[in-house]
Symmetry: C2
Subunit: 126 residues, 2 copies
């Protein structure tokens, strides 16, 4: 492949991009930052190794997820993706807690309505 059509990985690593380059389909030259992040976190050999271990139809998703993980660590070098997981877990706890409160209010309303119905029935019997 000529210099102008090298994938982002081969361009970053300043090497020739071979026809059978494992990284080329997932790191196009149009998005050099994507490979730069992934390289900084995992390194080219680990990405290549991981992709090679997977069937071809799963490699796009794996490269995408590694890019997301790497971008998370670039944003947050201490917690990375795990920081996002913690925030989401907290958000679930908050929404579940609100749900429990609202369900409680609804149960009170239902009980009041039941009492009113029974009062109405008793009044009509008298």
């Amino acid at each position: 492949m000529s210099n102008s059509t090298r994938c982002a990985a081969c361009r970053f690593l300043r090497r020739r991009c071979r026809q059978d380059c494992v990284l080329a389909p997932y790191f196009p030259p149009t998005n050099p930052q994507r490979f730069a992040y992934v390289h900084k976190v995992f390194g080219a050999s680990k990405i290549t190794e991981l992709l090679k271990q997977l069937p071809v139809h799963l490699r796009y998703d794996a490269a995408e997820c590694m890019s997301i993980e790497a971008a998370s660590r670039a944003r947050d070098p201490v917690y990375g993706c795990v920081g996002v997981i913690s925030q989401l877990q907290q958000q679930i706890i908050d929404v579940q807690s609100e749900l429990v409160k609202i369900k409680g209010k609804l149960a009170v309303h239902n009980a009041q309505q039941q009492l009113q119905l029974e009062d109405g029935e008793r009044a009509s019997e008298q």
Copy 2:
């Protein structure tokens, strides 16, 4: 450090564990699997590089988060931590959707109660 007290990283990499080993405080010899996962995903040089870039008081959390990320990828080589994030996001959507439904029910109950109150007031005026 003698062979028996080498950290998990130095034992894994079959090297001498120096007094100033950057990895030793976070990869004790008692948990060799933890380093094995992290090494498989990030590689020893990337872990060392990332830890060295951080202030010492943040390194424990960073090593912990890299271990969690690496264990996630060992469980799920395609999606890793990003798979966990997707599941949590779906869980939030589900709980929020349930919350909207329950709030709707509560609003109906409140409206009914308001109507009953108004009916009662009208009846007592007549």
